[in-house]
Symmetry: C2
Subunit: 257 residues, 2 copies
DNA sequence: TTTCTATTTGGTAAAATTTACACAATAAAG
DNA sequence: CTTTATTGTGTAAATTTTACCAAATAGAAA
């Protein structure tokens, strides 16, 4: 939504294109070099941050809606996406905290207060993860977007604190079952690099010697016959994910620890 | 919904009480004596079975809606309930497979075809589990309800095949993390009984001697100083769940295998 | 009373996995 | 050729899982 006209049309006619009463909020995590961040957006008319969200087109699948909404904010197409929970308790949106007048004025739109948007809405939660160094958060007419360190997230609007907590928990649980880390590393990576990904996302130390042994033992990554030059130190071997094994492990329900 | 008047009012005015575009479908599993079943319902106007479902009141939480819908079918209040996934792909409901005329006629209602119900609707999936010997499935005006053995489920309407598959997968995964079995056994039970619960739900053999050792070792169940008389055999000790330990394990994320 | 049958349960050895650490290997700069 | 920083192999100890044997027991049958 880049122009006031588009926004006005969305407010007036959006219910024809989108499913009313259903929204989607995405916890977009970003990893890079030992840091874990999350993308928060701030509506220009409301004090405080929240997760970037959107509505679902009547013609698209939920997965595709999540992909589109994430792309609107990150510009990226190829990141890891996963539905984790749906939120729908009454009172999750505090209508009285919103300043409709201010929003309408700032965005240059009308009828906002009486639109299809102003009704009980449930929200489907997806989380996504990508390398944040590849992303320049995209703001639009009504909101702007920014990376926050995961341990410096301010109290959020609505029920989004809960969403962050639950999405992070889901991400951590699924890190061992799904090839999440593959989206955060170049195709060929060193053991030290993948080790950092796991430690950072899980938020805890993992033995540097035992950790890669396990990944290799389980066959989820495999050693290549190449090394990388890293200056005045011993050159580390490169590894890559073995997606076949990963998918097979997914089916049989194998796990790591 | 027991009378035609109630149903007519639901069709005409339901959108004031319920959230439109959002439904809930519940996979209600039933265990008893080595058997796992699932509750299916059949609309009188549509050929084929589906999961029992309903709509969410604007005033209730999702968990409470699930509880209400499950109670309508089972009469039970105290069963294990868990949200597992939301389904919302376009085409998940085949409108053209429905015979509106027939339904309206049979149920004695009108305006059905043009009602708020006839629009793209996403569905939140919960699963539930209880002892099926305690339940007499309740039918109502427009549908009747029946237990099916889990391996004799016929092809279902809409995307409900997918729902059954995913809910069963979620149930099996969570059996080790949540006190699900506690809802399927009397307060005091024997090792043989709980062993049967796990084997039946997981659909695989578990060593009868090692299995209880683990549960006791982890402290999730504890031995009582009582035995039960089971006829011409050695009397087994009784056990009960240690809910404190269970909740603690939940927090710390401990698991079984 | 003794024997028999069916079931529960304690115990234990072997196999597999996880954890903890020591130190050798290596690349390049001084 | 010594120094520095980092990678990677190996191995022993601890823990957990797996596979079974055989003893205990309750009542029925002999």
């Amino acid at each position: 939504m880049d122009t006031a006209e588009e926004l006005q049309d969305f407010i007036t006619n959006g219910h024809k294109t989108f499913i009313p009463h259903v929204s989607m909020d995405n916890a977009i995590f970003g990893y890079h070099d030992h840091q874990l961040k999350i993308l928060l957006s701030q509506y220009k008319a409301i004090e405080g941050y929240c997760l970037p969200g959107g509505y679902i087109k009547r013609t698209e699948t939920l997965d595709r809606a999540a992909k589109r909404i994430v792309k609107e904010r990150t510009g990226l197409d190829d990141l890891y996406l996963q539905q984790y929970k749906t939120f729908g308790d009454p009172g999750r949106i505090k209508w009285n905290e919103m300043d409709f007048e201010k929003f309408s004025e700032m965005a240059g739109v009308k009828y906002f207060k009486d639109s299809w948007l102003m009704d009980h809405t449930i929200s489907i939660g997806y989380y996504a993860i990508t390398d944040f160094s590849l992303v320049t958060p995209k703001s639009d007419l009504s909101s702007y977007c920014e990376w926050f360190n995961i341990d410096e997230v301010p109290p959020l609007l609505y029920d989004h604190d809960d969403m962050v907590k639950e999405s992070l928990q889901a991400l951590r649980q699924q890190l061992y079952y799904y090839p999440i880390a593959a989206k955060l590393l170049p195709e060929k990576f060193t053991l030290t690099e993948i080790h950092a990904v796991y430690e950072t996302i899980l938020g805890k130390k993992l033995d540097i010697r035992n950790f890669p042994k396990k990944l290799v033992f389980l066959g989820l990554i495999k050693k290549l016959n190449e090394k990388r030059n890293i200056g005045p130190h011993r050159a580390p071997y490169l590894y890559k994910f073995d997606m076949k094994k990963y998918n097979k492990a997914l089916e049989t329900g194998t796990t790591l620890t």
